[in-house]
């Protein structure tokens, strides 16, 4: 396979070494567990966390004579993911056996796809930034392929001094292996790629993206070179299970390789493991053991075939994906690229925002969702799904500001009440007397009182008109924040004789 370098070396991503600059080259293979009820080739459940070997059929345990029958939903999910990656869909693909021995692989082979995967070349656009000027940089990362394969079981090595414990619940669960081209040039790009891929599969509902439970894990290929030279020898870091670790593993591995090369050594192509507790990678398999998988077409399975109509049907029902949603938020709702990016980062956040923004001002809705709601959720360590404030309640608060019932400041207090106690915003405002005072007479009296009580300040403000703000503050304080700030400002200026 000829690998084409699609990127132009960019000095801002170079890693300085003792003997000059280096460039890191990254490609990733991401294993994403397909969201389905049953396994790829058996009717056993895919549920996480069941008791040992409860989700195992005799097919998954590789009992003699058991035959695989493909799950149509897993095929649909793979095609939908391919469409989400703007990729070529192969209407005919082949399942192959990848042969190796390990106790968590009872068949002695993994059913995978080798030469004819279900999905071919596609792309993902990642967005880096914002930089100091607030600009984002969009970079296209090529997808090489996506294929369907079986997951292996799980081994535990810490339960017994001389034995390993094997649970086959995960064995046979459908995985999509999504292979990128070696198009990434920094750990930030790799993290952005994983974040974006996770977001896309979550929008599509084809993988839950739950990295803690192992639903998504990455094998990261890292090599370094002098800028502009040919690709160097790569090392593969296996099974990295968090986005942060992907970044750390790449940083460490690039430094390690640069160190070896600068000392006059050479890189051995090998598989390495990232140890999060030490923040380093270490060699996992020796070269002598290099795997020879002896792929061949699985004689138990016919080619997987479907027609254009099948693909078109799936295409029509695809949800709006993050890039399209972001573009729509910017062009139709007038949001900044930054705000739109934050809102589309998770489908649940985008859904929440759209519910709040429906029939209201998009920018106001965006500000409340991003600054107040997401801020509070972040502080409380909650996910958007656990929000105590519903889109309806937040929308209610925004409506009360819009129609002048409450001031923006009171709205913040109201938000906290709704967050802590729940309830209908309009009723809370009514019951607790939080309404904004728009009655000019009442505000006028408050302004007069403050002016009468502070002759010194009145003298000062004549010399320095900006001090008018002090009076506005005092009036707001005296009215418990319920006075309309614009009205107070106008009255203060008028009474003190300050020109607009």
């Amino acid at each position: 396979m000829t690998i084409i370098d699609v990127r132009t070396p960019d000095p801002k991503r170079f890693i300085p070494g003792a003997t000059g600059d280096w460039e890191v080259i990254i490609g990733m293979e991401v294993h994403a567990q397909v969201t389905s009820n049953s396994k790829l080739f058996s009717g056993a459940s895919t549920a996480f966390g069941n008791s040992p070997n409860a989700n195992v059929s005799l097919v998954d345990a590789a009992m003699p004579g058991m035959l695989p029958v493909i799950n149509e939903e897993c095929v649909r999910q793979a095609v939908r993911t391919g469409l989400g990656l703007k990729a070529q869909i192969n209407k005919r693909s082949i399942f192959d056996r990848k042969n190796y021995f390990y106790p968590d692989l009872p068949q002695g082979y993994q059913i995978s796809q080798y030469k004819d995967p279900i999905v071919g070349e596609g792309k993902i656009v990642i967005s880096l930034g914002p930089d100091r000027q607030g600009n984002f940089e969009d970079i296209e990362i090529g997808i090489e392929r996506l294929h369907l394969e079986q997951d292996a079981g799980k081994s535990m090595h810490d339960q017994h001094p001389t034995m390993s414990y094997v649970d086959l619940n995960r064995s046979g669960v459908a995985l999509m292996e999504i292979v990128s081209k070696p198009d990434m040039r920094s750990s930030d790009e790799a993290k952005a790629y994983m974040t974006k891929l996770r977001s896309i599969v979550r929008y599509l509902g084809t993988c839950d993206g739950n990295m803690d439970e192992g639903s998504m894990r990455a094998d990261v290929n890292v090599s370094v070179r002098r800028p502009g030279e040919a690709f160097g020898t790569r090392c593969e870091i296996k099974n990295v299970n968090s986005i942060r670790f992907i970044g750390q593993a790449i940083e460490y591995e690039a430094r390690r390789q640069i160190g070896i090369l600068e000392d006059g050594g050479s890189i051995d192509q090998e598989t390495r493991l990232f140890d999060p507790s030490r923040g380093e990678t270490r060699s996992m398999r020796s070269k002598e053991d290099a795997h020879d998988y002896r792929y061949f077409p699985d004689p138990d399975l016919l080619p997987l075939e479907f027609d254009d109509a099948y693909v078109e049907e799936l295409k029509t029902h695809l949800p709006e994906l993050p890039d399209d949603k972001k573009a729509r938020f910017v062009t139709e709702l007038g949001l900044s690229v930054y705000d739109a990016s934050v809102l589309v980062s998770e489908k649940a956040i985008a859904d929440y925002f759209e519910a709040v923004a429906a029939g209201r001002d998009g920018k106001a809705a965006a500000n409340w969702v991003i600054n107040d709601l997401l801020g509070a959720l972040n502080k409380a360590g909650k996910a958007i799904e656990e929000t105590p404030v519903s889109p309806g309640q937040l929308g209610g608060i925004i409506d009360l500001i819009k129609d002048g019932t409450i001031s923006g400041k009171i709205a913040k207090d109201l938000f906290e009440i709704v967050w802590a106690e729940g309830g209908v915003p309009a009723e809370i405002v009514e019951n607790r007397g939080m309404k904004q005072v728009t009655d000019t007479g009442a505000i006028e009296k408050a302004v007069d009182d403050i002016i009468a009580a502070n002759p010194d300040q009145v003298e000062k403000v004549k010399a320095k008109p900006t001090l008018a703000g002090w009076f506005v503050g005092q009036v707001m304080k005296a009215t418990g924040g319920k006075a309309n700030p614009q009205a107070v400002q106008a009255l203060v200026k008028a009474k003190l004789g300050i020109e607009e």
């Binding site: 009717g43 040992p52 799950n71 021995f101 001094p161 034995m163 390993s164 399975l301 016919l302």
Partner: protein, 95 residues
């Protein structure tokens, strides 16, 4: 195409089949006989002929995505030489 003794041993190792020197020698002969036969087949011009995947022209059967199996951990581990609380136990494997 033919295989030498080292290749026979390597393939046996990959398949985790223990072969003695004598067996390897014999297998090399047998395998080369088979490969010679396959080479004869290779003389037939099959350019433009799709590889046959089934005698009868048929599409692969698919199943609905429903849970129809499982919940039989006792059966699954019944033949395991060693098990504990329905886990399979195997000699420790750590890479």
């Amino acid at each position: 195409m033919s295989v030498d003794l080292a290749t026979v041993k390597r393939v046996a190792h990959l398949a985790r089949i223990a072969v003695s020197e004598e067996e390897a020698q014999r297998m090399m002969g047998e395998l080369n006989g088979i490969l010679g036969f396959v080479e004869q087949l290779g003389e037939v011009d099959v350019s433009g002929v799709e590889p046959m995947t089934s005698v009868m022209p048929m599409a692969m059967k698919e199943r609905d995505d429903v849970v129809t199996d499982g919940s039989k951990a006792d059966d699954v581990v019944a033949n395991a030489p060693v098990s504990d609380r329905n886990f399979f136990l195997v000699p420790k494997v750590v890479e």
